[in-house]
Symmetry: C2
Amino acid sequence: MKEQTRRNFVAGAVALGATATLSATGSDDKSVASYPLVHHVFFWLKNPDSKEDQAKLIEGLRTLGDIPSVKEIHIGVPASTEEREVVDNSFAASEILYFEDVEGQNEYQAHSIHTAFVENYSHLWDKVIVYDAIAVE
Amino acid sequence: MKEQTRRNFVAGAVALGATATLSATGSDDKSVASYPLVHHVFFWLKNPDSKEDQAKLIEGLRTLGDIPSVKEIHIGVPASTEEREVVDNSFAASEILYFEDVEGQNEYQAHSIHTAFVENYSHLWDKVIVYDAIAVE
């Protein structure tokens, strides 16, 4: 960050009384880099208004946490944040799976719990988008 | 989960020698529900091949961790996982911000560090997609 820009940020934060967060370590305190590989998946249902199908899908997603290489799991539904043009709140369920590395993600893809999940629950969804991201240093 | 389905999962896992993961607590051990609200953001650059612009954007994303209501942050780039039809690896950078609740996310949206980020870095991106998800119990 350019020094001038940083000073502007600091000045802005001081104005809001937020100095305590601007420690020397900064945002490094907040990383979740112990599991750097995140596998984001968003699901859209064939019956988007069916709460029953949504619940079934979530039941299936919960099983994925039993796969050994999955280190953390977050299963979600759209949050009631402000509606903005860039926000897509049309999905029925989301998951974030955390892995130590790409190999862990490969193990997950091939694991019988994952293949059983696809076999038993894929009839529920119409569309899936996956984003795999690796933490930057 | 239906009992028959569960038995099939267990049988499959046993076949792979993965019984140790099927404890009574199951995937509950792996939740990250202390920060239930996740704000996923994916960025596509105007100059998608510019490593310099990607680095600048990441520099900007790092500043967001200094916002008090941001409890954890994960900044990523596409991982080298297998190319599959459902995987979108065309984004330049991703962030996951973790909040305690919707109010924390609202504070973040209004915070001067966030507005400065948009002001100073939005010229770099062509498209942004946001997904806000709240953990299911």
